[in-house]
């Protein structure tokens, strides 16, 4: 690889038969381009998803969204994930996330913000970190649209266990500290069953959140000290898979239907304006994709 660009954002997209991650990645990249300062972007995908992209995404629009495309084939590992689309509909789809730890090698940037393809950045919050010497950062806490905390197994890996960190957004540079962080992530991935016993979490679904939680725990002195930067303690905002996207008021102005996790028929409208939101209900993004892209045209953004 040639000398790396200074700063940028990477997004993984590996399609499966149910979910068009390529489409989600383009929407996420469009938001990066509009709202952030360090907005060079890189799509990381495989050949088959890229073929689909060439067929389904207008090339001009693609160029508006991405500066780089890196292909990296992932060896298929059976990792089915049950998804919700509102509380009333579920489906199962393959989840390919086994090369996320290789991002430190795949990125074309010296300083990289890696975001999930369903993470919508509607403000410039993350700009600050590119202007620091912080080697890497991840969100330590999360909250739902109604400001409630995640369920307990997403606060700690087990009742007496370590803190649960989030891999939805990962910032890193090319320092030794960052390399160590990703080395630990890789080590946990390669020894998944062992770590599932040691840290007492369910092994059935491979979750990168658990990998980064263990890496953060180890790098924080095998405890909860503060070596690992947590994006100024700002929580990740999760629109749960059971939440729905109901209206696009504008590019940076979305309205959700937030489902109560205790009583599913109880819902609440939540408006998120100029906010960063992890929209975990991917079918909802899919349903509103045209509307979202139209909002950019309307605002000439």
């Amino acid at each position: 690889m040639t000398a790396k660009d200074e700063c940028g954002v990477c997004i993984f997209a590996y399609n499966n038969e149910k979910l068009d991650y390529i489409k989600f990645a383009h929407i996420a990249a469009k938001y990066i381009k509009k709202n952030t300062k360090y907005n060079k972007t890189c799509l990381i995908t495989d050949e088959s998803s890229k073929d689909w992209m060439d067929m389904s995404v207008d090339s001009t629009f693609h160029k508006e969204c991405f500066d780089y495309v890196v292909t990296d084939e992932v060896k298929f590992k059976h990792n089915p994930r049950r998804h919700y689309d509102s509380p009333w509909s579920t489906f199962t789809a393959q989840f390919s996330n086994s090369n996320k730890d290789d991002i430190i090698n795949l990125t074309p940037f010296e300083k990289t913000l890696l975001i999930d393809s369903d993470y919508i950045v509607q403000n410039n919050f993350y700009d600050y970190i590119f202007e620091t010497d912080i080697p890497f950062a991840i969100h330590k806490t999360a909250e739902y649209l109604d400001h409630k905390p995640p369920r307990l197994p997403e606060q700690e890996l087990n009742e007496a266990g370590i803190h649960h960190w989030w891999s939805t957004v990962v910032y890193f540079d090319q320092s030794d500290e960052s390399k160590l962080f990703f080395d630990i992530w890789s080590h946990v991935k390669e020894n998944w069953e062992y770590y599932s016993i040691l840290y007492q979490f369910p092994k059935n679904l491979f979750r990168t959140d658990f990998c980064v939680s263990i890496a953060a725990h180890i790098m924080n002195g095998y405890n909860d000290f503060n070596f690992v930067h947590d994006f100024l303690s700002v929580p990740l905002v999760n629109a749960d898979q059971k939440d729905d996207l109901v209206k696009i008021n504008g590019v940076n102005d979305w309205v959700f239907m937030s489902a109560d996790r205790e009583v599913e028929w109880k819902t609440m409208l939540v408006r998120k304006k100029d906010a960063n939101v992890h929209v975990m209900n991917k079918m909802a993004i899919n349903r509103h994709a045209d509307e979202i892209l139209d909002s950019f045209i309307k605002e000439n953004a």
Partner: protein, 285 residues
């Protein structure tokens, strides 16, 4: 320079209770071999003290006013006598169910330097998160009392402020049942509760702002403050959580490591001969 050292109370019942004070003293000396530790014992018991205990403590003193808890067996009620028997100008009283672990003792003294009397107002869980105070201090909160941890108290022997605090402790600790009946009849601890009484004293003296101090490496294994998912049940951490005391003196509980800290472990079953041997070996090395 004024003398300074640690003091702890060790009164045997039918079983050897002094071994906990012994483990504490060894752990302090593991941190700083020059640190001095005084053991306070029941009157007339000096001759009965094991030689290895005598060899470890720098001072052994007897309760100057006798064991005021001898009848009801509540030996902790002798706490009020500590200022009257300490051999040091500056003293840190420590409960016997506490261990020191790679603590910078000079830094600890510096932390207290400008205080007459002080005690931690915060504590950490073994996962280094803030200890939840709701359950532990529910009575204090109900009555609007301070919520400090009275398991480690610094005081200056010649300070009038500290003396006045201990003067009140004298009255409170020797009359705790009457105090419960007179002041807390609506709701009071079921039994003698040293920490509650210490917070009552601080309240009576209107000294909360003066005494509270943050020791950012003070840990407390109080079960219902550890942030377990079901806080309705106490967890016997020694039996229910995996734990190791490593050869370099680090306490590991489940996946979390306490490599430096003052640890109020509470459950005496934690102190085994094996742990004492480890502390001894690291103290001597």
């Amino acid at each position: 320079m004024s003398s300074r050292g640690f003091i702890t109370l060790g009164i045997d019942s039918e079983v050897d209770q002094i071994k906990y004070s012994y483990a504490l003293a060894l752990s302090i000396k593991q941190c700083d071999p020059s640190a001095e530790v005084c053991l306070v014992i029941d009157e007339g018991k000096t001759d009965e003290l094991k030689q290895e205990y005598k060899d470890t403590f720098d001072y052994v003193v007897e309760l100057p006013y006798g064991n005021t808890g001898s009848i009801d067996g509540i030996h902790a009620s002798n706490f009020w006598q500590m200022i009257h028997c300490t051999p040091f100008d500056e003293t840190i009283y420590v409960d016997s169910d506490v261990l020191f672990n790679h603590v910078d003792i000079d830094l600890l003294w510096d932390t207290f330097a400008d205080r007459d009397i002080a005690m931690p107002s915060t504590a950490l869980t073994y996962r280094t998160t803030p200890l939840g105070k709701d359950h532990k201090f529910y009575l204090e909160t109900h009555f609007g009392l301070p919520t400090n941890f009275g398991n480690m108290i610094y005081f200056k022997r010649k300070s009038k402020v500290a003396l006045s605090w201990f003067k009140m402790a004298d009255a409170v600790f020797q009359n705790w049942e009457e105090l419960y009946a007179a002041k807390f009849s609506e709701r009071s601890p079921e039994f003698f509760e040293k920490n509650f009484l210490i917070n009552v004293i601080t309240s009576m003296m209107d000294m909360n702002n003066d005494v509270q101090i943050d020791i950012p490496y003070y840990y407390d294994m109080y079960s219902k403050g550890q942030g377990f998912w079901d806080n309705s049940e106490s967890i016997d951490w020694v039996n229910e959580l995996n734990h190791w005391y490593t050869s370099d003196g680090t306490l590991i509980i489940e996946n979390s490591s306490i490599s430096k800290g003052i640890i109020h472990y509470r459950n005496r079953a934690f102190i085994t001969e094996g742990i004492i041997d480890v502390i001894k070996s690291t103290t001597n090395s």
